[in-house]
């Protein structure tokens, strides 16, 4: 039985474990440490943890200042505030001068559940990706998250990473030769009829969808695209050329995120049908997380339907 853990939990533990190895690592939160799981670091290393209060704009600027005197700050809050409230601070004060600040948005997507639309950030991929020079990540499971945190700490430059609230099954630890590298997607399952390119917890949905499709005789490749920007263009091109159809899937608006990144690249370089699966330009709503995801079709069946649409376009 594979480990089931929320990526926010894996993140918090990984960050805490790195405290001793990197004296420059500092962690800031905006009164949400218990939810973002930065409290693991707070317990492990209280002298390098800073609670900046409910003031995300200031938190991002303070982190920028700390980076300028030699620290490696990770700032933490919910995705909606990290990418939304503080967007222009991230753009002008972190990315424009290319400072080494890691912006971490927990509680991304519809799977926030009961808290509803105000807290279900579906735009973070799109608006963070729009900033020049920004790296955008979202790991799919605990194993990948642990490696992503280490990679982010070692990476010198601005980056945004989304964390998920729900516990998710670990799938990357069973892959032979799996390694994590920023900007390099991972093929989790091979296939020849279509490629499903997924990010975050949609990777597990994509694997389930591939099983269902296999039962119908459709061979689907599944790519875990943990880095939305910079996009692994070589892997996308290979998928387009070898399978002739692509479905993207993300727990985010289909406007501007992973689906857009893939569609833009494929349309300009190796045109094949690309069908985007995600949230269709609407706000989320309250409910149990799985019920919300199902209500918006963000599940394996939703992906299966999009695959059939893509295959129809391919013919």
């Amino acid at each position: 039985m594979a480990e089931k853990i929320a990526t926010r939990e894996a993140y918090g533990k990984a960050l805490a474990a790195l405290a001793d190895t990197c004296p420059e690592l500092v962690v800031l939160d905006a009164d949400l440490a218990g939810a973002t799981k930065s409290d693991f670091f707070k317990k492990a290393c209280p002298e390098r943890f800073f609670d900046m209060g409910i003031a995300e704009a200031d938190m991002v600027g303070v982190a920028a200042g700390m980076s300028l005197v030699g620290f490696k700050p990770f700032v933490n809050t919910f995705a909606i505030f990290a990418s939304g409230r503080a967007w222009e601070q991230v753009r002008n004060t972190v990315c424009y001068p290319r400072l080494n600040v890691k912006v971490i948005g927990s509680h991304g997507g519809l799977s926030v559940g009961e808290d509803g639309a105000t807290h279900q950030c579906i735009e973070d991929f799109a608006i963070m990706r729009a900033i020049p020079g920004m790296t955008v990540l979202c790991a799919c499971d605990g194993n990948e998250m642990r490696l992503a945190v280490k990679a982010l700490l070692d990476y010198d430059g601005p980056a945004y990473m989304r964390l998920g609230r729900l516990a998710v099954e670990t799938v990357t630890d069973a892959i032979d030769g799996y390694k994590f590298e920023i900007g390099k997607g991972v093929t989790l399952r091979d296939g020849s009829d279509v490629t499903i390119i997924a990010v975050g917890m949609n990777v597990q949905m994509a694997l389930a969808a591939a099983e269902k499709l296999a039962a119908e005789g459709i061979s689907a490749r599944v790519i875990d695209m943990h880095t939305i920007k910079p996009l692994d263009e070589a892997l996308v091109r290979k998928a387009a050329q070898e399978t002739g159809a692509i479905v993207t899937t993300e727990e985010a608006t289909v406007l501007g995120g992973l689906g857009a990144a893939v569609a833009e690249y494929v349309a300009e370089t190796c045109p094949v049908p690309v069908v985007r699966h995600g949230v269709n330009d609407v706000f989320g709503r309250s409910g149990k997380a799985q019920a919300v995801l199902d209500a918006y079709g963000v599940n394996a069946d939703g992906i299966v339907a999009k695959v059939k649409q893509a295959l129809a376009l391919k013919k």
Partner: protein, 280 residues
């Protein structure tokens, strides 16, 4: 205070004013009004207060400065040039497509600039982060910032005030350039911010009110800030927008407008006369 030192500071500020007005004129765009108003408090920082070495601009133990009102590049760039961070001739590259001197203060291409700014309210948070970082590292460098009084309407400024108070950042000294004017009119009409002294005191800052064009008061204020322990210092510098150029003084229209050739000629004559008198 030695008379010669004050005279030297006044002279550098007058030279910086001329260079600032010249670069705005040459670029036919830029922000002269607020640059001229903060020129004296800024000149004093770079020529009297800050521990800096233009030959080693990346020294980790140097004092830091953040121009939170980042449109005032025509103040900071001339002061950095006069202080020796780069040749005065580089100012010709201001706001030009073939140049490297961005319209708003920029750190990656202009030697001596510690932080890129331009979006109001954001620089002061960065200064807080630098000061917090110095404390965290046990380093003794100091951090300075200049804000505009119009900028104080940005909520982020007050977030930063709370954070500086929380961490007792006595290595941080900020200065508000209280020239009373902003783009759309008088600050008291656009968005009243007074009483500033009571507001900053309520936020836990040590407040000093000065005439921002009197170098004796400026020197005393920075010394008082350096001697203040356990809390950050806010200097409220009452200034004249457009200071030093008669037709720009206290005129809201000179916030972000370049002088034409005729106007520049008059400004040049006035500032050169001031420089000549100070060179005496």
């Amino acid at each position: 205070m030695e008379k010669t030192k004050l005279q030297q500071l006044k002279l550098q500020a007058a030279r910086a004013r001329l260079l600032g007005v010249q670069m705005v004129h040459d670029a036919a765009s830029g922000h002269p009004g607020g640059s001229l108003s903060c020129m004296d408090v800024l000149t004093d920082l770079y020529f009297s207060q800050m521990r800096i070495d233009p030959k080693n601009p990346a020294d980790p133990d140097r004092d830091r400065f953040v121009m939170s009102k980042g449109h005032c590049s025509p103040a900071l760039y001339p002061v950095l040039a006069l202080r020796g961070f780069f040749p005065v001739e580089d100012l010709k590259m201001f706001r030009r497509i073939d140049g490297h001197m961005s319209g708003h203060v920029e750190m990656r291409h202009v030697p001596g600039v510690d932080m890129s700014t331009g979006s109001l309210g954001q620089g002061i948070s960065v200064a807080v982060g630098m000061a917090l970082g110095a404390k965290q590292k046990g380093r003794d460098f100091r951090v300075y910032a200049i804000l505009g009084d119009g900028e104080l309407a940005e909520g982020q400024v007050w977030e930063a005030m709370m954070a500086a108070n929380k961490y007792h950042l006595d290595n941080l000294c900020a200065c508000v350039d209280v020239n009373g004017l902003q783009i759309d009119g008088a600050t008291k009409d656009v968005m009243p911010t007074e009483p500033l002294d009571q507001k900053f005191e309520a936020f836990g800052w040590h407040v000093i009110k000065i005439d921002g064009h009197d170098f004796e008061q400026i020197e005393a204020a920075y010394a008082e800030a350096a001697a203040t322990k356990g809390q950050p210092t806010m200097i409220l510098a009452k200034t004249v927008k457009g200071k030093g150029v008669s037709f720009m003084e206290n005129q809201v229209g000179w916030h972000g407008k370049a002088p034409n050739d005729e106007q520049f000629e008059q400004a040049r004559q006035e500032l050169e006369a001031a420089i000549k008198e100070l060179e005496g």
